[in-house]
Symmetry: C2
Subunit: 248 residues, 2 copies
């Protein structure tokens, strides 16, 4: 198994808290040691805004724990989520000194930051960092484009089912909390955040979730805890290709 298989979306290593994933040969490499001196941690509480679009951003960072969102807004307040930052996701733009989006913590989060200039300088000297970043960015671009299909062409019900299946899959790939093909997980987002993600209103989100529950596609315990009795069924509701996505 290659380094990239073990660390699909992380530049972290050494004493960075993220190392719980595994120990990795490349982490010992001195290129990364060089970053130690410019590394620092920042934490934010749920609801806090990490940075506003247009503000000066003199660091790049990786999420260590918690969830944050990237959002864009129109002047009149309409807002659209354009990215979701999960643990090990990277944020920041080598070569740009302004944030392009609002970054908001939706849970308490811890971020591992590097000062931007030293990071860029190191990137110029060590090819594999740029390559790693390129892979991650390409993955994000793919995700963004899939999301565009959802925003532009899916119905409200399909949007909800898609979001649920994404969260379910993501969750399942981390903890293996699965009995046959029942999946169970907590929604990490409020109804409003889901609406911003999907380009809907929170009322529509609520109605569609109720409908899916009524029809037995999902089961709800409280407002956040979801169990999916039949993943295949959910994927069909999502309108996705019946790809092998259920084999998490």
């Amino acid at each position: 198994m290659s380094h990239d298989d073990v660390y699909p979306a992380s530049l972290q290593c050494g004493d960075c808290p993220i190392r719980h994933r595994a120990v990795c040969a490349r982490c010992e490499a001195n290129e990364l040691d060089e970053l130690e001196s410019v590394k620092y941690y920042r934490s934010f509480e749920a609801g806090q805004t990490v940075i506003w679009s247009g503000d000066k951003m003199d660091f790049v960072a990786s999420v260590v724990s918690g969830i944050a969102t990237l959002t864009q807004t129109l002047e009149d307040g309409r807002t659209q989520m354009v990215g979701l930052l999960l643990p090990s996701d990277f944020v920041g733009r080598p070569g740009r000194d302004r944030a392009a989006y609002n970054i908001t913590a939706t849970t308490d989060i811890l971020m591992c930051c590097f000062r931007r200039r030293p990071f860029e300088e190191m990137m110029e000297r060590t090819p594999h960092i740029a390559q790693r970043l390129l892979q991650m960015t390409l993955d994000e671009l793919d995700a963004a484009r899939e999301w565009m299909l959802l925003l532009g062409r899916k119905t409200a019900r399909e949007k909800i089912a898609s979001l649920l299946s994404i969260v379910a899959r993501r969750d399942a790939s981390i903890r293996h909390r699965r009995t046959d093909n029942r999946l169970t997980f907590d929604l990490p987002l409020t109804r409003e955040a889901m609406a911003d993600y999907l380009g809907l209103t929170l009322e529509t989100v609520s109605r569609q979730i109720s409908a899916l529950k009524r029809e037995g596609v999902i089961e709800l315990e409280g407002k956040r805890h979801v169990t999916v009795p039949d993943m295949q069924r959910l994927l069909i509701e999502a309108g996705d290709d019946s790809d092998g996505g259920l084999i998490v």
Copy 2:
């Protein structure tokens, strides 16, 4: 002026037709000479599909002339454009051997291709290629995210106005065909393609264009030739921040 200013989105050089832009010192560098042996050209007629999503794609490429689109489709045929390839834009995914989208020529196009493996090998050895690609990919990601805001939160009228202003701006930045603040250009897309871009139906696109014309926001000559008498007005219709975008 740096190399990157002259070649904002191109890896092309040497005898590649794109060199009309300028002559560039870096083009002589032997890293790129190395690519000569694996370079070839392909051309497609308007309407032809370059590659289908999921097909084997053993090359990366840069558009030399013409326009192509990246689209994704749902099983029932609903389709969403997720990217627009203009001259000098790059396509292909180092590290992935399957196309993720349908690529379709909307005009006759010429592409400059490199076989994927050799390209990747070269990228591993020469840092600035990966860095260049990273910058380009980050720009695409930004564009995709702006597009997500459009798809999720803008009205049909705003979507059309946004598209028109994007095309106008893009066009103006190439040829300087501007009298005071009147801009004039040809739409490179059919109504259907615009609909796929914007997540609308072609009827709605048509109606909104008619409405903008009726209200004097744009003028039409035939179906394709547009002139914008007042760019500021169009930007307001687009619902964008009244940023300095009109200074093209």
